[in-house]
Symmetry: C2
Subunit: 381 residues, 2 copies
Amino acid sequence: MTFAPPPAARPGDTLDAVATPSLLLDLDAFDVNLAAMAAFAKQKGVALRPHAKAHKSSVIARKQIEAGAVGVCCQKLSEAYPFAAAGVRSIHISNEFVGADKLAMAVELAAHVRLSVCVDALPQVAALGDAAARAGVEIDVLPEVDAGQHRCGVTNEDALLALIDAIHAQAALCFTGIQAYHGGAQHIVQWSARKEEAQRAAERTAAYVHAIEARGIACGIVTGGGTGTVEFDAASGVYTEVQPGSYLFIDGDYGRLDWDGALRWRHALFILSTIMSATRPGMAVCDVGLKGLAVDSGLPRSVRWLHASDDAPALAYTSANDEHGMLEAGTTMNMSGAIGARLLLPPGHCDPTVNLYDQYVCYRGDRVVDLWPVDARGLSR
Amino acid sequence: MTFAPPPAARPGDTLDAVATPSLLLDLDAFDVNLAAMAAFAKQKGVALRPHAKAHKSSVIARKQIEAGAVGVCCQKLSEAYPFAAAGVRSIHISNEFVGADKLAMAVELAAHVRLSVCVDALPQVAALGDAAARAGVEIDVLPEVDAGQHRCGVTNEDALLALIDAIHAQAALCFTGIQAYHGGAQHIVQWSARKEEAQRAAERTAAYVHAIEARGIACGIVTGGGTGTVEFDAASGVYTEVQPGSYLFIDGDYGRLDWDGALRWRHALFILSTIMSATRPGMAVCDVGLKGLAVDSGLPRSVRWLHASDDAPALAYTSANDEHGMLEAGTTMNMSGAIGARLLLPPGHCDPTVNLYDQYVCYRGDRVVDLWPVDARGLSR
């Protein structure tokens, strides 16, 4: 029995007709962000390998590649499948993995795309080398170094050089460079402090590159960096490739950062929500909560009326239940007239918010123009 | 081109062979929880209408109904579709909704199941009555009263009676009772304080029931309550129907509550995760973060080794990135030997965590015995 909810939106619909909650993508803003990063990377002479964990959509990956990206990053092996299926030919897994389930995916992917992966421990290299050799595939391997994130990555040069020796000892593996990503630096609010932390990360990374070259080994690729630090990463002379993801969308967290450089971003991602209850003075309830908004980086920092009227009060989104968002007007006015009104909410954190939805409802002005699948949604293995 | 990740698990696999991260359901514990609530409701003479927003699985809904439940609750209309498709014949939407997209779903559902819904404003009643009459369907309507949650629901008797009059004026709508749910009361840690708050909610609800009956109107159903207060709700003499959801799983938040009554619950839901990096003393990194664990109610409060050894340190899950979980051992030991080890993590909040996965990997002992779809995942409209 096929019995499923009707489509949330169709091209040509106005935003008033889109079912809520929906994940809205403002294509005018998206186009600006997409083009700005592509032009920036080209001008600075760094390869652009956007992080697909932010958008999880093969449609968006293809647009990034058409605009000049060399391929994409994925954070998990399973996440890479829809991109490989859609014709993306170069995928970097910017993460470590272990276990038979992961090795099986790695060799399957490597039979379809140019695959590179990260390692930070010798057993990972040995297992991957064995699996790749048995499968008859070749995999590029980039040891990860800890550039200040203190998450994954080797913490000293001896460990790095031992990994490179181990990669060289595996016929099916190819050492192509290193990864150095400092996630924490991305989110420092003050521009100058963010610059300093990014420069420290670049200095740590440069020391690792020098240690490799001192052994007479070429370190072709130095990949890392993100939306928050990309101007510093590109200027460092250390990174050959940058991995920004959130620049397409700019969420609440990135939106609150200082941006004092050449690049300016536009908010492109919103949750469309409807007020469905308002029984108390100055309060209203909308139809998106924890299941439609990731709150790990905070609640939506602004609430925009889809149709603002002169007497529409400013609203604050003050708490989230599973399927309810609490709104406060800061007045004691009766809000019952707002039932049925629609709101645009920028999510606090784009990546895990996108991962809650199956599609982007893409719009220009007040019209839906396309629906793009979030085809890597839920692929966290 | 069909190119997709391999299955995460197959019946008969040991938990060592299950791809990670996966959503694990311990069926021995689940069976105990399922039976305990069914027996409790039967003994107390209250109808059991479990909340399907917690599990989002038609397989689980059918098991609840086989055990005696009268139907299920859903929080959203779109969420109800897989349950209707699977043969659940009575569905209560425990929430308000407005808009043409919602009305279309309501009347479609009402053509397939006995549908009841909540209202707390007159325009909701008028729109629903018109839509139901046009579609030739009948819908049961339960005004929601604010029992202390201060979210949705009318806040005074006049508003309630006006809603009932409006429902009576609609030929296609049937007033069958009221909903009174106090979500905040569910999570009060101390048993006696939780009891007091539940009793206050029941008193508020009783006053509304009396106001209805004083008008000579029968209030057949009083639905509400949840896992945390169900013993008090059932004892109140006010509620005719209870809506617990989390009792099947017991998450970190419910697990930390005092349980001094007749019912005892078992943790049944876990995320299976693998340690994939450990380059710093006393630290390790596992492969589940924000995209596999909802953190709104806190991080996992415990970390269990799938295979504990005598020298395995106690671990704490201390922070989550998108796809990484940071683990601290509280020692300075070298943790690299733990790479590849598997962990069981109880999520802090079951509902939004389940909503991140497409299936339950159901196990008994150390063997996978079944895979159940989360077929209402993402259905938040």
